[in-house]
Symmetry: C2
Subunit: 400 residues, 2 copies
């Protein structure tokens, strides 16, 4: 089969994105809008905002939750409320840029720590050697919603008097050892961006450790304003508006169903990919109720015969828009690359994983036939890749 | 008349807020939503976002405009894109906290400069003595949408090699010398919060000086992401979503009408308050097409016989929710009060004005009868205030 024939055979008629938001019923959404129109109360802790805060708290089982306009601003405020505004914080390079940038905005130098090859989360064995006199906190990420080594990290933090802030952007609804994953650490931050399992269009939340702390978070997300005449600190605008909150109230009703459907899709992928040499799926996390938010695979080019970038390009030509979450490592960005801890030799696992990883499409109403089709493309691509005389695969060209 | 009788006579049946958003037709808004539901594209430079950016650019007459989730994040990015990330910036204490907090998030020490007693904006005569080796920029505010002394400020900036960033949160649509006010300075930042003349629920915009700069701003508001594999700087999430953009597209059609209606209300206030001793209104700004966004008055307690706080309390009891924009000065907030420039003796005009100012209700569909009523309350309050034996006005009690 020529490359052209391959693409012709496997190209889907419509692009399949890596994810797609579950849209609530528009009619029901308009009912919420009618209330907003009546009240003319569009933002600043409106009644829908307050209702969503209560409902998410209850759904997740965490008492001290504050909504935000997006997860990034929640991260900024998380550091601010803990008074972490200088020194160093130990974090992972295998993450979305927001994690590291939040440190920048709080005047903190990131110290990159390598990841565990099984969990793809911060490797707890590598944290302690990085702790120095300026270390203030650890900022791990529950990548793909899979739990970090929370007990080990907590032990290290307690031993050295450090704070732990979890970037739990992917971890909505995940339970670990029967507890909400976002209840571990000093603070956790969720993202409700449109690409997330649970969404408020844009949005996020900060889970505080106490009601007092939550109160201060709520001041800080509203410019530090405690009352009409008191500003208690250098706050920011992190407010979620009523239109976002209404969307969230409806999404919340659908999220159990979404998690379940994604679970079925993940099972289909597991079955469809299990016999392809060179394609590795992550082990299911132990003691965890997962949310199935992402479906990452790792491509070992030597065994699979095709590199991750080549497979990515083939899939794209077939209208299958997989994403390289996370490549390149954020430690490669020019603003961080000169840090000693950003040296690739310090981050061998993360470097390799970022070159191998690909997140496949997953969302509640993704059709099983499409999932099976994607698995078949991945299986066939391995067998049918053709090469130029110099051995370079044809697909590499097609990508340019 | 006793105080009780006064309140009984003048209390409005429903609260009149200092402002109220003009709500577009819900049916038309739902049409926009239908498109969003079809596309399932909720944020990240969606088609409505792109359309609104073009339409506001054209409406304001500025070519290089970027939308933001709110004006505060736009301010953070304005400083970042100019590489102002340390040192000092000269700014006004007579502003909403966001102005000063933006400096905090960019690691900059604010240097407070007193205001001009006529314009209530940064006094250009007082700027130069504050310039030192660490000064990087000037961050003035067009308070109430009234132009700063833009020529004088530009001259000082050029002489000393400083940048000028205007906080133009209030200045939507204002023209000065026939030019858009937001085209002055290196950059300007608008707010589209629900309390503003033109609103996108929450929202804001940054007006850049060139297309190249705008491009970088657009990267920075999306985490610094230039393409799928390149992060060009420590960005943030400043994205406006499609629901906000749809609201803005409809508000934009109403904004000329809103400006005109507010102009009529301002004229009513001017007429109704002109003979009350001790109540000062601001002179209309010269060479300016105003937007009538706010209607501030200054209360001279000695001449009026009642303090600003007492009048505020009386109005509140009458369901007239005037606001003390801006009191106290942000230089009083605990996070800034210890700065040398925050000393009240350096900020005599701003200190006095912040104790005297009150913003009266103004919005397009505020009924003329209510405006006349408010004027009457202010006139009558002066004459009928009763006092305790020790001279303290009764209203002061009522406030507690």
């Amino acid at each position: 089969m020529t490359d052209q024939e391959f693409i012709q055979q496997f190209r889907l008629p419509e692009p399949v994105h890596v994810t797609r938001p579950a849209m609530p019923d528009l009619k029901d959404y308009v009912e919420y809008l009618t209330g907003i129109w009546d009240r003319k109360w569009l933002t600043n802790a409106g009644p829908l905002h307050e209702a969503l805060e209560r409902e998410i708290s209850s759904f997740l089982g965490v008492p001290h939750l504050s909504l935000f306009c997006n997860g990034t601003i929640a991260l900024l405020v998380a550091l601010e409320v803990l008074d972490i505004d200088d020194g160093e914080v130990i974090t992972t390079p295998f993450t979305f840029p927001a994690t590291t940038h939040a440190l920048h905005w709080n005047r903190i130098r990131p110290v990159f720590c390598d990841i565990d090859p099984e969990t793809l989360n911060l490797d707890p064995c590598r944290i302690e050697p990085l702790i120095g006199p300026e270390t203030r906190a650890i900022l791990p990420v529950h990548v793909y919603g899979r739990p970090c080594a929370v007990e080990a990290i907590q032990k290290i933090a307690e031993k050295h008097g450090l704070r732990v802030i979890y970037d739990a952007a992917h971890a909505f609804g995940v339970k670990y050892n029967g507890k909400p994953l976002v209840s571990y650490g000093d603070l956790s931050v969720l993202s409700f961006h449109a690409t997330k399992l649970f969404s408020t269009i844009e949005g996020g939340a900060l889970i505080s450790g106490s009601d007092l702390q939550r109160k201060r978070v709520n001041f800080l997300k509203n410019f530090g304003i405690a009352d009409e005449e008191t500003v208690v600190g250098p706050g920011i605008n992190g407010k979620m508006n009523e239109f976002q909150a209404a969307f969230g109230l409806m999404q919340l009703k659908m999220v159990d169903y979404e998690i379940q459907n994604r679970g079925a899709i993940a099972a289909l992928y597991r079955d469809g990919l299990k016999d392809i040499s060179g394609i590795t799926m992550l082990q299911e996390a132990h003691d965890t109720e997962p949310n199935n938010g992402y479906f990452p695979i790792l491509i070992d080019a030597e065994r699979y015969g095709v590199t991750r970038d080549e497979l990515f390009a083939v899939l794209r030509q077939c209208n299958i828009l997989a994403r390289k979450y996370f490549y390149p490592l954020i430690s490669h960005a020019s603003c961080y690359a000169s840090l000693a801890s950003a040296a690739p030799s310090n981050l061998m696992v993360a470097e390799r994983v970022s070159r191998q990883v690909l997140c496949l499409p997953i969302y509640g109403d993704l059709e099983p036939a499409v999932v099976r089709h994607i698995c078949r493309v991945i299986a066939e691509c391995r067998q049918s890749v053709s090469r130029h005389d110099d051995g370079a695969p044809i697909y590499r060209q097609a990508r340019v």
